[in-house]
């Protein structure tokens, strides 16, 4: 039998077989982070550095306590100049945290930032092998060895530049959408504002006076609406929904369906937008039938229902009347559809519980209790809560005022929510309803409150937007709200580049929070539009014309229209068919790579020869032994 390894042996020692890039003289700088002990308490980092120094192509290997610190990053920039390092490997935490940090350092040192590789010694090594320091150290060496192998095959890459379409599409015409649209228009940018109902305003429409300023909600809505509707930069599409989105930052293809055809007929239209702002908001939680007797007893209503009742109640009456019955006593019940507990509450139709706090219900309940006590002083008002969360500026006053206004508070434990039941008694003394509560303010006394009306302070549920979530893969959290990249550092961005979040589509927020989020999203979008072009990462497929034989196999694998096709090219003096990638449309999945017998098509940054170099690095006989 012939030697199966024939032809696979490297021609020169220290080169990865089959890798053209390694022909170049790579001088790899390896930087190992202690992470303040997070790594070095388990991994013998000095030994890793020592082993790295013996790896082929490594010019220097250093250890630092915090590579991400300024002095840590300086090691890199200095070595590029002083040692002539031309490839960099940092072995530290997960690449998702600091890969871009170190690419930045590499660029500051004057190198192409893609001549960089990252080894994950924390999440996937020291933290995962705490009780096996020897094994962790060996693994760390092999991971560094793999990264060095890959780095030696790295080629300089340039970001892909594509024209930026400076139009923002805002989905949702509540206060968040209107605010974002107005702010963008103020920067002179074009906006298309898509609202699914027949009017702008969202959940604030008809809400009446809103806390903490007690201004009429209509006032806030009207101000924003005027800015949006009368603005030459903003096109408002009512009764419309985004049907689908494809593309990428700077170049989203959006299809909108709506009744904007002649005579209000249904029609579709498409446009190219550079940025998307998702402001699709929330709807109030609708209790299940029978939940606290909702929908089974007419005296049990939700907060939005109650606001409507109060607003339409005729002036000059001594008592609020519901279906001809005066409301002598009433109870507000907090946390309905919020802060639900597994085993206590019944999951919704999708099998999920709303474990989150909806943030606005506490203050709204107190606000309405005060309103009732002021307008109808003879009505007894009970407030049943688990915690009063009047967290925002100016809202704690509502709690104090409600107490002063004679609202009576009862505190229940989340595990033992109050029970709403039909009332007892005779004649005029009979109330239609009663609420049983185990009150922790009176050391767990079981109380029964006879009432004429129960108001459920219902929470917030995000509006379902499957057409957006599915078509551009928007991340949602466990709670079904859209999820930002980072709750503190990048609060209005999502992992899909060019998509921003505004308002309650992201999380329960009050008006102030909604408007600041919307303003932030607008500024982020405007900043993106400051550039003529968008820059995309270069991890897309590329054809090596010196290897391509034009079999066309790769094209059969591509799922993205126009991303990969066969074209005529001139080679020497004849015209031949060859594969060609459109880097703006290629997503870099690599499905094409697997079928090319020449390995002529590869994904930049993730080439097969680089993977093979990494495997060689892992299985290499590295210096792991004891001193």
């Amino acid at each position: 039998m012939s030697d199966p390894f024939q032809g696979k042996k490297p021609e020169q020692p220290g080169l990865t077989p089959g890798c053209q890039r390694c022909e170049e003289q790579a001088k790899v700088g390896v930087y190992i982070c202690r992470c303040g002990g997070n790594i070095s308490d388990v991994v013998d980092v000095e030994r890793v550095a020592e082993a790295a120094r013996q790896m082929p192509g490594v010019a220097t290997a250093k250890v630092h306590t915090f590579m991400c610190s300024d002095p840590g990053q300086q090691l890199i920039t200095e070595d590029i100049l002083a040692v002539g390092v031309n490839r960099v490997v940092v072995a530290s935490c997960t690449p998702f945290l600091h890969e871009s940090t170190f690419r930045g350092a590499v660029a500051r040192g004057g190198m192409n930032s893609y001549l960089y590789e990252h080894a994950n010694l924390r999440e996937q090594c020291s933290w995962a092998h705490r009780h096996d320091p020897a094994g962790a150290t060996e693994k760390a060496i092999r991971l560094v060895s793999a990264a060095v192998g890959k780095a030696r095959c790295d080629a300089a890459l340039d970001q892909i530049r594509l024209p930026n379409h400076r139009i923002a599409l805002v989905a949702g015409g509540g206060i968040a959408g209107m605010k974002a649209a107005g702010d963008l228009a103020a920067c002179g940018l074009r906006v298309v504002l898509v609202e699914s109902t027949g009017a702008l305003g969202g959940q604030l429409l008809g809400r009446g006076a809103v806390y903490p300023t007690e201004t009429d909600a209509e006032h806030i809505v009207a101000g924003l609406r005027k800015e949006a509707e009368g603005n030459p930069h903003i096109e408002v599409l009512l009764n419309s929904r985004v049907r689908s989105v494809s593309g990428f930052v700077g170049n989203f293809q959006v299809t909108i369906e709506g009744r904007f055809g002649p005579g209000g007929q249904s029609a579709t239209t498409s446009l190219t937008a550079g940025a998307l702002i998702i402001a699709t908001g929330f709807h109030p939680y609708v209790p299940a039938e029978g939940e606290f007797l909702y929908a089974t007893h007419p005296g049990v209503v939700t907060m939005p229902d109650f606001l409507q009742m109060l607003q339409s109640a005729p002036g000059g009456t001594r008592m609020l009347e519901v279906q001809g019955r005066p409301i002598r006593s009433m109870a507000f019940l907090h946390c309905v559809g919020s802060r639900q507990i597994d085993g206590v509450h019944t999951p919704g139709p999708d099998g999920r519980l709303n474990t989150y706090c909806s943030r606005v219900c506490c203050t709204t309940a107190l606000q309405q209790e005060i309103a009732v006590r002021r307008r109808f002083p003879e009505t007894a008002v009970f407030d049943l809560y688990q915690d009063i969360r009047t967290y925002a500026r100016g809202t704690e006053d509502y709690y104090r005022t409600a107490s002063e206004a004679g609202v009576v508070f009862f505190r229940y434990r989340g595990e033992e929510p109050p029970v709403v039941e039909a009332g007892e008694g005779k004649g005029t003394r009979r109330t239609p309803l009663a609420v049983r509560v185990k009150d922790t303010l009176t050391w767990g006394e079981e109380l029964r409150l006879p009432v004429d009306l129960v108001v459920l302070a219902t929470g917030m549920v995000p509006n379902a937007i499957p057409e957006l979530v599915d078509s551009i893969k928007l991340p949602t959290g466990e709670d079904r709200f859209l999820q930002e990249v980072h709750p503190k550092l990048r609060p209005v961005e999502v992992s899909v580049n060019g998509v921003l979040l505004a308002g309650t589509a992201q999380a329960p927020m009050d008006i102030r929070e909604t408007l600041s989020a919307a303003g932030a999203a607008a500024v982020k979008a405007a900043a993106m539009f400051a550039h003529e072009d968008v820059e995309l990462n270069p991890y897309v497929a590329e054809v090596d014309l010196s290897l391509c034989e034009g079999s066309g196999q790769c094209v059969t694998q591509c799922e993205y229209d126009g991303a990969l096709q066969m074209v005529d090219v001139i080679v020497g003096d004849r015209s031949v068919r060859r594969a060609q990638v459109n880097p703006g449309l290629c997503v870099g999945c690599g499905a094409c790579v697997a079928v090319c017998p020449q390995r002529a098509i590869q994904v930049n940054g993730w080439r097969l020869d680089q993977y093979e170099a990494m495997i060689d690095g892992i299985v290499a006989e590295v210096a792991v032994g004891a001193h």
């Binding site: 220290g14 997960t94 690599g590 499905a591 097969l608």
Partner: protein, 184 residues
């Protein structure tokens, strides 16, 4: 026999100055520790593996995780190549139905099916490869997959590298003739 195959490892030893090496795993009386390669998708399984570490849960240090956009990019011969180099087992930790790339997971699954047919025909143990979906918070699934692959490999012993290399060469030849047929 198996040991001999390993110490013959060509192409690898020559890269490293022998005098400086200590070979823990290759020493005569060391117990066999398989090498596991995990091909983990950047959108799902790689952050999933990070989540295991963040939760301070432990698994064997013989597990080497490589980040990939989608494992659909690997040809059949790539896996065979890994075995020929001395990787004992491969866990493809993909995104499954959460795959951000259209059709990529289906293609991957088909490729692995085909690979397993080849392995069976060629006499290479199909237990050396596992395809699974691991999400960004699938901590338990990750640990289970790694431990099951470890168990399987402990029972199998080291990979037959020469056989894998032979199958790799055959696989590349097949890819080539398929392309020729396609072009014709």
């Amino acid at each position: 026999m198996k040991k001999q195959e390993r110490s013959q490892a060509p192409g690898v030893a020559s890269q490293w100055p022998a005098a400086t090496l200590t070979m823990r795993c290759l020493m005569e009386n060391d117990p066999y520790i398989p090498k596991i390669l995990v091909l983990a998708t950047e959108h799902c399984a790689y952050p999933g593996a990070d989540a295991v570490g963040k939760a301070h849960l432990e698994y064997g240090a013989n597990t080497y995780i490589l980040r990939v956009p989608s494992p659909a990019l690997f040809p059949e011969d790539f896996y065979l190549h890994a075995w020929s180099r001395g990787v004992d087992g491969i866990l493809i930790a993909a995104c499954g139905s959460d795959c951000p790339y259209r059709g990529a997971y289906e293609r991957l699954a088909r490729r692995i099916d085909d690979l397993m047919v080849r392995m069976k025909e060629g006499g290479l143990e199909t237990e050396r490869i596992r395809l699974t979906a691991i999400c960004t918070v699938c901590i338990k699934a990750f640990l289970k997959e790694v431990s099951q692959l470890n168990e399987a490999l402990a029972a199998l012993g080291p990979v037959r590298r020469a056989l894998a290399a032979q199958l790799e060469a055959e696989s590349r030849a097949r890819l080539r003739s398929a392309a020729l047929a396609g072009a014709a």
